[in-house]
Amino acid sequence: MGEILRQNLLSPVALAFALGVVTKLIRSEFSLPKDIYTALSVYLLFALGLKGGVELAHAGAAAIAWPAAATLLLGCITPLTAYATLRRLGKFSIADSAGIAAHYGSVSAVTYIAAQTFVKGMGAEPEGYMPTLLTLLESPGIHIALAIGAMKTAAPDRDTRSVLHEVLTGRTMVLLVGGLVIGLLMGEKNWQSIAPFYDSKGAVFKGALTLFILEMGIVAGSRLGDLKKVGPFLLGFGIFMPIVHGALGAWLGTLAGLSVGGATMLGAMAASASYIAAPPAVRITLPEANPTYYLTASLAITFPFNILFGIPIYFQVARWLHG
């Protein structure tokens, strides 16, 4: 375990993240221009979708049925466990609990990519259709948590339908689902012609990921000061909830027949907290929920924890489950 952790901490992803945090700690004015950050995320998501679509064509419906069912089940469980933990043990308000749960029920695509890079580096090649599972996990969690919040708080004139529309038609969904469809339609031969640019094994993808993670480090670093504001419970929640969800994901993934690499990635997906799709959706539907709580928990606690320590832990759990 120690050796795996050491390898992960010395990976370009972890080190670039650390540089981002340091950039904030030394109060440098540097950050990636917003448009470049957006462009990088478009590239990464589209690349994931395309490759996933090509692989999906090989896999066939039968192979993916159980993993897909396990993923959807996770998407329904994780917002509920997060909500119950926050509400019962943490004594958070209904709106705050539901708001944070929406983030933990959804998924962070960057954590997904980091997990993919990690397991491939460990020689545990994951199933090619993993991006399909990523799209399945993106939205149910947000919807369930927001529904709990909307049911339990007096909701004056909130346009929930437009929020659902926004989540389902956001950047992540368009690029992932669109990429999957294109990949599925174009087939292996056409993929080869664009693979040098988009393949996650390639230099372009890995380079782009490192730059993107650097900016994520800066974003997380700028929230470190808020750690004092959120209190010890949320700090613990941001670390222990992912471990529970990660182990659950690795276990369900293993039961559904995923390999060690695939189960690790499903664990990392379940453990991760969204910070792109969830925040605006929560801000609109649950205005009483304090953004400092959900943004700090998902960005400054859970994201770094997963990138640095969580993924190797889920990998270890998956290996142990596979005997």
Partner: protein, 100 residues
Amino acid sequence: MEMVPLKLVTIVAEPVLEEQLTTELKRLGARGYTVTETRGEGSRGIRASELPGESIRIETVVSAEVADRLLAHVAKQYFPNYAVIAYVSTVEVVRGEKYV
């Protein structure tokens, strides 16, 4: 040139509210509006909404009656939980009929 006095309503708000606010102000009687991205600091601090993105400033020229309605709506719906300010000033325009 003949000038007509009307009300300019200015709303500065978190970016997530843009779509909702513009839809609502048209429903409440505004004929048009201008949105600009903007920055600043208020009682809730610089990172008012804490979500990424610049704040927005919505401006609309309306009758006194519509201005009242808009302010009342914004006050009731958004002041409690969002970083939003709104104010009314009197402006003079040509083509007064264009705005009411």
